[in-house]
């Protein structure tokens, strides 16, 4: 057990929380937050596991994670715009298919 592995386990835990949130929340903003938690979990795993496998720090995963974070931010922004428009049109915070369950 070393410090890198801790990152990975933390990542797995975050992923779990994220997926749970994604599935069990129908509120669109909550879902978006769940997605962000999930993506952070994946990034942690990506960095943690790679560092664990190779003894010295590896720059590639860090570059990848940086790119990944940019992509996630872009995704969040796009989702927020759409959610805002959706709220403006429909006055709802959930998608129509999900409302039947509640």
């Amino acid at each position: 057990m070393n410090s890198y592995l801790i990152f990975s386990y933390a990542g797995v835990a975050l992923c779990g929380i994220g997926v749970f949130g994604f599935i069990f929340h129908s509120h669109l903003i909550k879902r978006l937050i769940a997605f962000n938690i999930l993506s952070n979990g994946v990034f942690l795993i990506l960095v943690g596991l790679a560092q664990n496998a190779q003894k010295q720090p590896d720059h590639l995963p860090q570059a990848l994670v940086l790119t990944g974070i940019v992509v996630a931010v872009a995704a969040t922004a796009l989702a927020l715009v759409l959610i805002k428009q959706w709220y403006a049109i429909s006055q709802q915070t959930t998608l129509p298919e999900d409302q039947e369950h509640q």
Partner: protein
């Protein structure tokens, strides 16, 4: 020269996107024309280079392989980039006449980003590049769906976005695990180093599920019908013809690059089962729709099922059968791209005529707009897999492959699926033949719209006569054959 040409499919549309954002909207159409022409010429040049000198790989920006961005041209890459060139040109042309000025202004940047993403995916030789391409593709596709601006379109866009993001995360998680195990993300290096362990199995599991979610393979398909059926016509065509192919293309690449050995049969059968269910379920749902575009959207679902049959049929037993499966699958992918785009455009024209979305309002249209019905019908022939068409040739090869390996289940599913697809396509047809007393009260779509739909449909039929050219490219390339 080759170094420039190979990066052009990515750089040109990216430039197009930036320019169309910066310059006033009135230049957009001209820019589109020039850049599209450039892309087509470039693709033709790449094709010539490829058929003369074979595959080519290039690392961009002076970095060495693990960190640099590698682009490569091989048979699949060239076929798919030609396909996206042709389909996107026609869809862009269609959009130019179909969309209102305000929509068109928003359409072009998304269109160019979409094309950038697609070409990145076709040309990348590296898993992370593919991830970036996939994400860019998702954003531009979701943006295009949201162009519809109404309640349905927005809901569909949101649903699509969330599904696609979840899929991307699965794929990225898989990348993380693979990198931890093998220390590389380049497809060629990975295929040398790969062995099936617990970690790599979990990794591939995540990647495959993520990619299947983005491709809308049954049962991860629920986002597709509203997104494809509910968006603006040129967008539907682009989405169904090209976007879903991108994630499937990565699946196919992984399947061909990674040696699964003994496990290929089990994994392939599993994917084939999903595909077979998709064929039956998608066709059945299409048959029960009452809205024209929904039928076409559900038909895409069924066709994705056919693509999935490549996996069980391409599973390392008999080289000839494998080759047939791959060739058949590629032909199916190509002819579906042409035919489905043609069909969506023709359906869009029919909707212009009737101004209503349900099937019953189509009565009498075959008299009023025979050209549209003809376009829809020709595309339908290819989708049903009746000869002479690209779809038929593809299906013929899949059937041959199944027969050679005595895989009767897939054979029966293929045949049953084509019967069901004939049922839903002729259902549309029969509505247009119905004569009513009401008389013709139809609007007339512009001739440009009609001819663009027809051109794609005719191409899907012509593919039936020129399949050999495409397949020669495949056999010519040094593909990793087991």
């Amino acid at each position: 020269m080759m170094g420039v040409a190979i990066s052009m499919p990515v750089i040109l549309p990216l430039l197009g996107a930036i320019i169309s954002l910066l310059l006033p909207a009135r230049y957009n159409n001209r820019i589109a024309f020039i850049f599209m022409l450039g892309l087509v010429v470039n693709a033709a040049w790449l094709l010539m280079h490829f058929s003369a000198q074979g595959p080519y790989q290039q690392v961009m920006g002076g970095w060495t392989l693990p960190l640099g961005i590698a682009l490569r041209i091989d048979a699949l890459a060239i076929i798919f980039s030609m396909m996206s060139c042709v389909v996107a040109s026609v869809c862009g042309f269609y959009a130019r006449f179909y969309l209102r000025a305000k929509q068109l202004k928003q359409f072009w940047p998304f269109f160019w980003f979409l094309l950038t993403a697609l070409n990145t995916i076709w040309l990348s030789a590296d898993l992370f590049n593919l991830y970036v391409g996939l994400e860019l593709l998702t954003f531009s596709a979701v943006g295009l769906v949201a162009l519809g601006q109404n309640k349905h379109a927005l809901a569909a866009a949101l649903r699509y976005l969330f599904a696609a993001l979840l899929g991307s995360m699965g794929y990225l998680l898989g990348i993380a695990l693979l990198y931890a195990q093998f220390g590389t993300l380049s497809l060629s290096q990975l295929s040398d180093a790969f062995s099936l362990t617990t970690t790599s199995a979990v990794a591939l599991g995540f990647m495959f599920i993520g990619l299947m979610m983005k491709t809308a393979v049954f049962p991860l398909h629920t986002w597709l019908p509203p997104a494809h059926g509910g968006s603006l016509t040129p967008v539907s065509a682009l989405l169904s013809a090209l976007v879903i192919k991108a994630s499937f293309y990565i699946l196919l690449r992984l399947w061909m690059a990674l040696p699964f050995g003994e496990n290929a049969f089990v994994i392939g059968s599993l994917m084939g089962t999903l595909g077979g269910t998709a064929i039956i379920w998608g066709s059945w749902m299409a048959l029960n729709q009452t809205q024209l575009k929904q039928i076409v959207a559900y038909s895409t679902l069924a066709q994705i099922g056919y693509f999935m049959l490549i996996f069980p049929l391409f599973s390392y037993s008999d080289p000839t059968a494998n080759q047939y499966a791959l060739h058949g699958g590629v032909l199916m992918l190509l002819s579906h791209a042409l035919a489905k785009a043609g069909m969506f455009l023709a359906a869009g024209n029919l909707l212009i005529c009737t101004n209503k979305t349900d099937l019953t309002s189509l009565a009498g249209l075959s008299r009023y707009r025979p050209l549209n019905i003809f376009a829809f019908g020709l595309a339908g022939v290819s989708i049903m897999g009746l000869p002479p068409s690209g779809g038929f040739n593809g299906k013929w090869l899949l059937v041959q492959s199944a027969l050679m390996q005595s895989k009767w289940v897939w054979l029966i599913i293929i045949l049953l699926g084509s019967l069901l697809s004939a049922a839903y396509i002729f259902k549309v047809f029969s509505y247009t033949y119905l004569e009513t007393k009401a008389g013709d009260k139809f609007e007339q779509p512009s001739a440009m719209l009609e001819w663009s739909a027809l051109s794609l449909s005719v191409l899907s039929i012509l593919l039936g006569f020129f399949s050999v050219w495409v397949l020669d490219l495949l056999t010519l390339a040094e593909m990793r054959m087991p």
